[in-house]
């Protein structure tokens, strides 16, 4: 781990000013990504600005029924928050099914959105990787890519986005609130994650020194019956192979409202819009569910070892829809 200097700040404007003024600096929240990647020389900041004293840890009601998660609220605190559990269970579940209790106590929700990919070549400074070292190539294309993405990929990068929380936020149309040298911004979650394209090193539209101050969850009554389903190689303490965030209402046998997002399959938390189009207003039947899953994965591109994810993705979507429809009927 290379030497770093350290500052601890207690107000937002000092935090932003300090990082913005120094290109070699980075924010330090829970450190569960930052310290890990510093140690293996993947991230190379010269200075860390500790933001853990900033007053951004609360969960607040928004006028109109939404909820604001402070950027530094811990994964564990948000997951256990009674209002989050009641109105947005998929958010709580996406957090509780991620990492471990220890990591969830450390990690902030802003840091969760900003976490880097788990591609083994990205984490290995000896390997060619366009994301870590632009222009060097992508070792995963023909390498060990069982965990890699089948949606949203490019010729430059196929790394899966690892955040579970991000998937629930995509289903909810959450808004990321930031503050930077140029002032405050509200960024729809879909725009907060960039596809790799030809610039996989660029994952977010943030400028250097721009701080994620919070995440706004819009009011969405159907989200009170939402779920997060995560399929992985072991039952706990593991990233997703496939994950589905789902909220659906069924009226008179037809799908009245549907929110569907996918994890583990794509280079960014993935809103399943093709599936939603098939499902919207359709009868809540096995046939609709299968057609929706087929539509969403129609554009999937396998890269050898990860081909199984296409079928697993379809089956998980169908399962999520089937179980949710059953619950809606008996409700």
């Amino acid at each position: 781990m290379r030497p770093i200097s350290y500052s601890r700040v207690s107000d937002v404007s000092t935090a932003i000013g300090t990082v913005a003024a120094d290109p070699g600096s980075a924010f330090l929240a829970g450190g569960t990504t930052q310290v890990d990647l510093l140690r293996i020389y993947v991230e190379q900041p010269r200075r860390l600005v500790d933001i853990n004293d900033l007053p951004l840890k609360q969960v607040e009601e928004l006028p109109g029924g939404g909820l604001r998660l402070g950027g530094l609220a811990r994964m564990s605190d948000v997951a256990e928050h009674p209002t989050v559990r009641q109105r947005y269970p998929m958010v709580s579940e996406s957090l509780l099914l991620g990492a471990s209790p220890q990591l969830r106590h450390m990690a902030s929700v802003a840091g969760n959105l900003m976490q880097r990919v788990r591609c083994t070549y990205f984490r290995d400074t000896e390997a060619a990787c366009n994301k870590r070292a632009p222009g060097t190539g992508c070792s995963a294309m023909d390498g060990v890519n069982r965990g890699h993405a089948v949606l949203g990929t490019s010729d430059c990068c196929i790394a899966t986005h690892p955040s579970d929380l991000g998937v629930a936020l995509m289903a909810l149309d959450a808004v990321v609130r930031t503050e930077g040298p140029a002032g405050q911004r509200s960024i729809p979650i879909d725009d907060f994650y960039l596809l790799p394209g030809t610039t996989p090193e660029r994952e977010h539209p943030l400028t250097h020194g721009e701080l994620v101050t919070g995440i706004d969850l819009p009011p969405l009554p159907v989200a009170a019956r939402s779920r997060y389903i995560k399929i992985r190689d072991r039952e706990s303490y593991e990233f997703a192979l496939v994950a589905v965030a789902i909220a659906m209402s069924v009226v008179d046998g037809r799908i009245a409202e549907i929110r569907l997002a996918l994890g583990g399959l794509a280079t960014k938390p993935w809103r399943a819009r093709a599936a939603e189009r098939v499902l919207d207003g359709a009868p809540a039947t096995a046939d609709s569910f299968t057609r929706a899953a087929e539509a969403e994965l129609a554009g999937a591109v396998p890269h050898g070892m990860n081909a199984f994810k296409i079928e697993l993705g379809k089956r998980t979507i169908v399962r999520a829809l089937t179980e949710t429809a059953q619950r809606e009927e008996s409700a």
Partner: protein
């Protein structure tokens, strides 16, 4: 263990100050005692505890957040010392396995691990115990919950059934989900 120094509070570091990259003076409160050490900001809490403070109970398994061997408490919450910078723990209260016993009297969880034969090589054990005590305090100790809420602590010897038995025993002795730290 409880020196008079333990009652003092550390003043908040000045926000504008840049510290390091060379060694800087850091004051940590570990197991109720203020410890002064000179470390570079990049030093993890795990390395500070083991290499500078001679507290070898906390173990280094993976050094990347994947095993839980380094579990300690910071402000009474279980966290991973390998991904925590020591310097970021000023003004926080650190508790390690060495701080769990009351003098020569072992913590009930330590007793239970002995009684239940909840280890083989013992390498993961300090982390398991720190996690287990915290688990009871967090209130996730139902029979069907322990497995999930202890999943952040791996055991290469697969002592899991006995570890869970030890936790259930302490839970039942203490009458429910809450245990005193």
């Amino acid at each position: 263990m409880k020196s008079p120094q333990a009652l003092q509070t550390t003043p908040a570091p000045d926000s504008a100050v840049v510290r390091g990259p060379d060694e800087v003076e850091v004051r940590l409160r570990v197991n109720g005692e203020i410890r002064r050490l000179s470390i570079e900001p990049r030093v993890s809490l795990l390395d500070a505890l083991r290499d500078r403070l001679d507290l070898h109970g906390t173990k280094k398994g993976c050094n990347q957040g994947a095993c839980g061997a380094c579990t300690v408490w910071v402000d009474r919450r279980r966290v991973l010392a390998c991904l925590t910078l020591a310097i970021s723990c000023e003004n926080r209260e650190i508790t390690t396995i060495e701080g769990l016993a009351d003098g020569d009297v072992l913590h009930p969880m330590q007793e239970a691990f002995l009684d239940a034969d909840a280890f083989q090589c013992g390498y993961c054990t300090p982390g398991q115990i720190m996690s287990a005590v915290a688990l009871l305090a967090e209130g996730h100790a139902g029979d069907d919950e322990i497995k999930e809420w202890m999943s952040g602590n791996l055991c290469r010897c697969a002592a899991y059934p006995h570890i869970r038995a030890a936790i259930r025993r302490v839970r039942d002795e203490q009458g429910g989900d809450r245990a005193a730290h």
